[in-house]
Assembly symmetry: C2
């Protein structure tokens, strides 16, 4: 794992801490979402597996160290710092909510407690992988909700922000409730179901549409899904129907999906293929899915690409990683930021979840009866202490947890009032104390 896949200032600050004799001071950072994007009422935490992989395996190569030594910004840095990078390991603690957990603004997705340098360098990677996967899992949960029981499949790698983003989008979409992805590597690496149909180029590469369909049926048998809009959709539906069984169904990729799905349904039914399914694709999002469902369009499955893999209505959600505690020698300081628009709460926290509200408390507080503590130890002193659940387990947790949220929160639109989050008296007290000292 490339330690250099980080912002330069993480490395200059690390050098600065080392030079200032502060590299052994213990810092606690929390990673959370400051505000929900428009129309969201919760997020679905995802990306823990990649965060853990990074922390357990992050290393500096000799080439990377030489590169840093050649940079202008490191010319005043003592040799000892580069030696320290050579031996760099994450020796700290990671606490995190299980992947698939619904969360709200200000609630930590993860908490890192480590020597300053070790907590600083991973910031960029953690924000990016956890922030992105949480964004996509959240978007997927919205689409699945809109589909009301119909299947949603993730098809977005081609429009994702790099092939690796596509890989992780496939994983996160599955965690968020999709039945699978078209990203084959995601299927292999994360043990999730993979799906595919055929492209227009398949149809075009044969002299006739019917030959293309026949060959597809020979190849895929009961998994055959004909793409029927290359030339004329209804004619394509009639050709597909003429081949009879075996088939899974047909795919519509353009045109008026309500009208076309009805006409195609009729063609399939008249051909004695009532079990043949209709999949719709083509720039779908949760609102279009909701419309199609509301219009009673006879669509059995939705394939969603661009809008899911880029979360296109909200392609970011401002995940942040903030210092909340800092131990220097015998002194423990709680830190917060009180500047305009960007305030943060001091101290390591725990999230206690009750039936219909959460309490954000200090990490040292005890369980009250009837609630669950969401943040759990994952890495302690650099060692993995808990099994990281697989994608399929995270998906099952998300399914159960999202279903148990108050129904109005699962709306595609903002609900008012939002989910109730209280601050514990101890946390309120700490906040006031820190604010007083800062002043």
């Amino acid at each position: 794992m490339n330690a250099l896949l980080t912002d330069l200032y993480q490395l200059t600050m690390a050098a600065g801490y080392w030079c200032a004799g502060k590299s052994g001071e213990i810092a606690t950072f929390e990673l959370f979402i400051r505000r929900l994007p428009p129309n969201r009422n919760f997020i679905v935490a995802a990306g823990l597996q990649q965060a853990v992989d990074f922390l357990l395996n992050v290393r500096f190569t000799e080439e990377e160290i030489r590169y840093l030594q050649g940079l202008q910004q490191f010319q005043r840095v003592e040799q000892g710092f580069f030696d320290a990078l050579r031996d760099f390991r994450f020796t700290g603690d990671l606490f995190a909510v299980p992947e698939g957990t619904p969360l709200f603004p200000g609630e930590p997705i993860l908490t890192l407690r480590a020597p300053l340098i070790e907590a600083q360098i991973p910031e960029t990677f953690l924000l990016s992988t956890v922030g992105f996967q949480t964004l996509i899992a959240t978007k997927a949960a919205r689409m699945v909700e809109a589909a009301g029981g119909r299947a949603v499949v993730e098809f977005g790698t081609r429009r994702a922000h790099s092939p690796h983003a596509g890989l992780l989008a496939g994983r996160a979409a599955y965690v968020g409730g999709c039945i699978g992805t078209s990203n084959t590597l995601a299927g292999m690496q994360f043990e999730i179901p993979v799906f595919g149909t055929a492209a227009h180029s398949w149809v075009q590469s044969f002299s006739t549409e019917i030959e293309a369909f026949e060959r597809l049926q020979q190849l895929l048998g009961p998994a055959t899904t004909y793409l029927i809009d290359t030339y004329d959709t209804l004619e394509g539906a009639r050709r597909a129907a003429s081949l009879g069984k075996p088939l899974w169904g047909v795919r519509l990729d353009s045109g008026n999906l309500v009208e076309l799905s009805r006409s195609v349904r009729a063609i399939l039914d008249q051909a004695g293929l009532p079990d043949a399914r209709i999949m719709a694709t083509g720039d779908l999002n949760e609102y279009k899915i909701l419309e199609l469902a509301a219009a009673g369009a006879p669509i059995d499955a939705f394939g969603v690409g661009t809008e899911l893999a880029t979360s296109s209505d909200a392609p970011s959600h401002g995940a942040v990683y903030k210092l909340v505690e800092h131990i220097s020698g015998t002194e423990r300081r709680y830190t917060a930021k009180f500047s305009q628009d960007k305030s943060t709460l001091p101290g390591a926290k725990q999230v206690f979840r009750y039936a219909a509200h959460d309490v954000l408390a200090r990490s040292s507080e005890c369980f009250a009866p009837g609630c669950e503590a969401l943040l759990r130890p994952v890495i302690i002193k650099g060692e993995l202490v808990a099994r990281v659940p697989k994608a399929v387990e995270a998906r099952e947790l998300a399914r159960r947890s999202v279903a148990s949220l108050p129904k109005k929160l699962r709306s595609l639109f903002e609900c008012d009032p939002p989910y109730r989050i209280e601050l514990s008296p101890e946390l309120m007290h700490l906040m006031e104390e820190v604010r007083r000292v800062e002043r």
Copy 2:
């Protein structure tokens, strides 16, 4: 390079072509943008280096082949296909416009001509890496235009769609005109300048703001950039100014940037630091940069993160990869798609660029005097035949080419009429012919 980082249907279609005895047929695909996103008048092509790396190095591992053999969708596929995957190499041709070239809708960024299977499997990877980098280079060019000569630096990895997206965003933003990136690995891998300042956590980790500033100055000398808004921005500016030289300047990350930059400028000037610079960050985009510049805010450099690395106003631009020619035995067929909203032009193409318009022509047409043919051979029969320019060269080409576009095209808003693109008479003729045959 993982061949499985693709949509499953590319692999099932490949198997289908193999089983149908079509794997040796030669297909030509073009990768292009169908429509420009809102407010864009051109795109800046980027991502060629990663496309070439993929085509030269794509392989199937034994583990990947075993995985495919276990999938339901491959149960009817003959063993010979998997043997073919074991020996899979790209043996075809790649033509591409140089990275940094401004392009318009419908104009190929690249053209792939190869045996069907070899042209199909790379589709997803190529669309993703070229589509994404083109998106970001285009967005960067807009920000650089808005900044009107002030520096723009890419700071977005933390909000990018995965750490690898951040790596490529750093590269693409540089191609599009940024002076560099904070992504350190991008700096090393692509030989581009890296920049960084310090975070709020740096300031917070010291007992006092002034101590944090002193330590930073000792570390970075003339590269020192103080982040001054952790507690009180103007007080922070006074503390930074009190330390005198050496410094690069200060960074503002919140609040009213017009007012604050003026007050901070006055503080620095009064302290005898007229050369100290002011950098602004904090959810900036091209419109905010334009506003700040128009208001005459004394800001010397802009650090842009989220909005650049995610192209947040247009997080995708519908890059497509379409079959345009297909040779089966002695028969050459030109393919196009005439379905609603998604029509394409048949035949391999060339883009001829004149002073103020382009001609989209057939690839076999000859140069006319006074124009440039944009698509050039890069890989022929699987071998690299041209040096792929480095990021710094692509950036220089983008700078020159964008500057030579008609000025109204460089507006941040849609210009009407758009850039003029003519179809050559030969291409028009081919189109009519194909349409007649389809009917």
